[in-house]
Symmetry: C2
Subunit: 375 residues, 2 copies
């Protein structure tokens, strides 16, 4: 994987770049639609390519490992063959999901023992087998196995957790370096910077991950309940010290405003379930603000969903979409998800162009005001 | 609406024709995807047009009347404008749905009083207001308000029910003839032949509906639990006497085999929820037989869903579709529904071509064997 930094803004840390993978180019900053179980919920692969203009999608190690299982994905020839998405893929390591399991997982030095949320069966994730599993899934970018400490953890918990994540990272790289890709394309391993909301821990974490000559670096453990200002502050702490010649990925973030604020702070890659999950519940993101389509005010609004037409679905009317969402018609969830993803991709594409043109910050200031509006 | 009978088979009653509506042409025999609440579940309007090659879709008076309500549809400018399907639409009258409500509806000479399945509110359907409602929805073809007698009704019940349906039909035509379309296209009212499984009642019903110079005639009250042979027998009884110069619509039918058998017996139009409903549960119809994709045998079948490629979705693999359906991923329901509808449309299109070519019956005999296979 190669990263070319095309431009850094003169007035902020905002950057435009190109990532080249064996499955194609990614223009950064980029938003990556989340396909947890191997499918971006409600969206055909064809529409991801042709309508939403997605450049890279996510899969999740935890979910894919449990179902359909690694054997099936290997026999398919990897996730790209399995889900027919032939662009770049990134897999999350499963660390976040395992730690979200709460009572049904147990953490030790070796790894995390957990029960499947599907059938209660017992499983063990270690830094080593998570690397192996991600070799089998075959994503272009794979993530280190880490502990994501709770948003309300105290300093001691966060420090111990970070140190465990650091030891696991070393084991991840050992395993990664002694194994080969299973399919005919390269894979890159991204470390994850943890450290909770403690500035010194974040600095220690960044210094540690820089010991590894990785193709990119992720920031984890944010957007887990802390105040937005804290998230931005921690992001700044990290991007101040991360290598400039490698992409930075802020995991699980966020709203359109979060994304613009984080781009300004030097982030290149984003993922979040918000466009699809909130879409299924009738929340639409537009360049004029947020629409709750269930609101009675849209009942007889027969204008198109979004006159900016980011997607072909924007031609449906607000009134019709409201009816579909309220009636629990699948098509409602499909339309809202597709609109939101297309909007997110439009947003990062426009941000990139503004960075290249040298006027990102002024555009961002205006957009942030509009994006927060409740229509 | 015009109907042109292009060809009647020399060896059966199978027919090929063209229906011309103000929203375009329909090539018969035709299958009509069901969009009960104004959307064909899981399918974008664009894909109905371009991928599935649907020529006409259904809406349902009962569902649309309750939600979004007639006021919303009128303000949209009719259902075509509301759901952005600009081809022909047919609306069922709501009779079947109201009678399916069982205990929460009460039938009288004037009409049917019923409770909404959504909020328990009370409503009344009469032949007159059902005509008015269908004027407001604005379908190209609208259906008479009828009673669909239970599949196990005795002769007396069926006779009384038919007579009520006949009186209601007269009221439907009076109301229809004294009202005008609300939008700038014509509407046609189809009577429904009832009579349960009693040959003499069916004959009486056919003779009665022929008193009305309708643009087409429907056969209702079949495929409601009776043996398939009875359904075919009743269909034959009806098509023997129905006018040859008007299209015949067999309501709510059915499996691919049912459709071919009924085409042979002189039916031109079909609708059924089976391709979408069974699709959502993982049942796929193909020209080689029926696939239950949940079956373990498909777990590692990485071949395409259907090599005949009726739809772009057929390029996904069986193994992937199985994973999606088992994991309750929306995309699974979307893929299976879209495949099945594309297959149904392919089936009737091919039947039409075989009728025109003069070899429908031999093709049908071969197909029926294959279609019944369990793969």
């Amino acid at each position: 994987m190669e990263f070319e930094l095309l431009k850094t803004s003169e007035n902020s840390r905002a950057r435009a770049g190109n990532i080249t993978t064996d499955h194609g180019k990614i223009e950064t900053p980029i938003f990556m639609p989340v396909g947890t179980a191997g499918s971006v919920k409600g969206i055909h692969t064809r529409d991801l390519h042709e309508d939403i203009n997605a450049q890279i999608i996510l899969g999740n190690t935890y979910h894919l490992y449990l179902r359909p299982g690694i054997d099936v994905i290997e026999k398919a020839g990897g996730l790209h063959k399995f889900n027919r998405w032939n662009g770049p893929i990134l897999t999350d390591s499963g660390g976040y999901q395992v730690f979200s399991l709460g009572d049904i997982r147990k953490l030790g030095e070796d790894g995390a023992r957990f029960q499947s949320h599907i059938d209660g069966s017992y499983h063990m994730f270690t830094p080593e087998n998570v690397m192996d599993i991600q070799r089998s899934i075959g994503a272009d970018i794979i993530m280190a196995f880490d502990e994501c400490s709770p948003g309300d953890a105290d300093y001691n918990y966060a420090k111990n957790s970070l140190e465990l994540t650091q030891r696991w990272l070393e084991r991840c790289f050992v395993q990664f370096n002694k194994t080969e890709p299973k399919y005919d394309h390269r894979q890159s391993l991204f470390p994850i910077v943890q450290g909770n909301t403690f500035e010194d821990l974040r600095k220690i974490a960044v210094a540690h991950v820089k010991n590894f000559d990785a193709d990119g670096y992720a920031i984890g453990g944010l957007s887990v309940g802390e105040a937005e200002e804290i998230m931005y502050e921690m992001t700044e702490v990290c991007t101040a010290d991360l290598p400039t010649d490698k992409p930075r990925y802020l995991m699980g973030v966020g709203t359109p405003v979060n994304i613009l604020e984080s781009i300004e702070r030097g982030i290149d890659m984003f993922d979040c379930v918000m466009p699809t999950r909130n879409g299924r519940n009738g929340m639409l993101f537009t360049s004029k603000g947020i629409i709750n389509i269930k609101n009675k005010k849209w009942e007889n609004d027969h204008s198109v969903i979004d006159e900016d037409e980011h997607s072909f679905v924007d031609q449906y009317s607000k009134s019709y979409l409201r009816h579909l969402i309220i009636s629990n018609e699948m098509l409602g969830a499909q339309i809202a998800s597709q609109h939101n993803l297309a909007f997110y991709l439009w947003l990062v594409k426009t941000a990139r162009q503004k960075i290249i043109d040298g006027n990102f910050e002024s555009w961002k200031r205006e957009m942030v005001v509009k994006l927060k509006e409740r229509l």
